[in-house]
Amino acid sequence: MSWREQIGRSLVVAKKDVWIYYLKGPVIVFGLIFPLFLLIAFTIGRNISLKELFPGVMGMAIFFTSTAVGPAILPWEARSRTLERLVCSPVSVWALFLGDVLASFFFGLLISLAPLIILLGLGVEVHHILVFVIGMILATFCFASLSILLSVYPPTDVPATVMMLSSLVRFPLVFISGVFLPVEELPSWGRAISSVSPLTYFIDLARYSITGISYYSIPLDLAVLLLFAVAFLLVSIKLHERFLPQRLS
């Protein structure tokens, strides 16, 4: 069975996820309501321009929305006893999880368009559109892969447990990624910590696409995002393969 057929079946899995999981309570709470209030808290009362707000707003929007669906899928499938049905079907484990990543990716991309359109409507100009679009797609895929990785352990069938544990990773990442302060204004230890977060590189790209200024070089930002995306995807597939029997038992 060719990889093309398997990619096709990944899209079927993604379609199933769209039908079933986009409107689940935890996804709405963690993917829409929560980031909305966080964005409101981030923007209101701060005496800075929309141009300065843009990287942080887009970074948070993409990060929270693209990591909202992934952690919910697997525990939900295990709980509703549909996971074994999927595992029995002629779909490779990698194709199965790629499908879940794609569902998270489309959710992140779709929802993040709303703040983007609002900011553009308010007069923010994106000067480096191609860089921003490529960065947005890469970052959304990277965070979607991260969201699948976050659902690996514990191999539970309680979605709320996975959602809460994933939040323990997601929130610190936002604080170390230059959302609230540009990377160049952080102390050296802060810059070192922020360099391990993929969100840092998207924020840097978003800032460059608006102001033409970036802390890292643009090829480096794109390469690191790509590297993180591939690493998250491969590691999550390997770990899911390992823990799948426990989840099914």
């Binding site: 069975m1 057929e5 096709g8 079946r9 079927v12 899995v13 379609k15 199933k16 039908w19 079933i20 509703s80 006893r81 549909t82 074994e84 049905r85 999927l86 595992v87 029995c88 079907s89 002629p90 779909v91 490779s92 029997p245 099914l248």
Partner: protein, 315 residues
Amino acid sequence: MNAIEVQALTKRFGGFRAVDHISFGVEEGEVFGFLGPNGSGKSTTIRMLTGVIRPDQGKAIIMGHDVHKEPLKAKQVMGIVPETSNAYIELSAWNNLMLMGELYGVPKKEREERAYMLLKQFGLHERRDSPARGFSKGMKQRLILCMALINEPSVLFLDEPTSGLDVESTRLINDVIRDLNRTGTTVFLTTHDMVEANQLCERIAIINRGAIVAIDRPEILKQMASGLESVEVSFERTVEADALSAFVHVRRVEKRGDKFRLYAEDVNGTIDSITDFAKMQGLKIVSLNTLAPSLEDIFVKLTQKERPEAGRVLA
């Protein structure tokens, strides 16, 4: 070629051997029953055969494809109703079937035609657009069977397909199994229902504590039941079971409602003892039947850890 070939299949969980070097073959077009008490290794075996878990040793070959070397090719020819499976309750019956058809790569026109036929056959066509959430247990199980058949599998695995279902759904599913068998589909069935196994299966394997203890045609298995012939008697009023267990030829007495089942080495001698006993006690016999050993008797004989002593009364 066997549709299913199992060679020395073994699975351990920690130090516990759930399945221990089992080997058997299932011919193409055969309905094969796989029976065993809870925890005997039935579901672990079926999960290894369907590629859900990897065996520690041995191999399973489905229609010529090694399940663990060529899992996708093997899974492509299987239809599966897992014991712990469910349909997507958020989706309609129709969309559940479309989803499964797409996962098995069935072309759109074919999967729509098959889905229509299956929903008709299983009495779900009227509810095809309703979310499965509102379906009864029997309807859900019928839908799961439809999902397992959407790819027209060569080998169908059914893990307790009628467990806890109403009579109508059970009968429908059993009829479909017979129809599938007539069209050449190989069926691998696990069940707790001995009557169902007896009526559906051409051969039966009995697994106990991870090992296969018997494998043969149901009627041949029943011949293994020397000493399991029994006499069932009901008196007009209650009598002490101990009095019956004292009969010369009786090995064991079981009280079943208002009846006693007497397992005996000599059925005729036991009938004589019963009639003599009734005369002496001034009892009227309400019913008296001789019973051939059932598959259940064989199952109990082969799987019971310790058989009751001769003459022991089981209330």
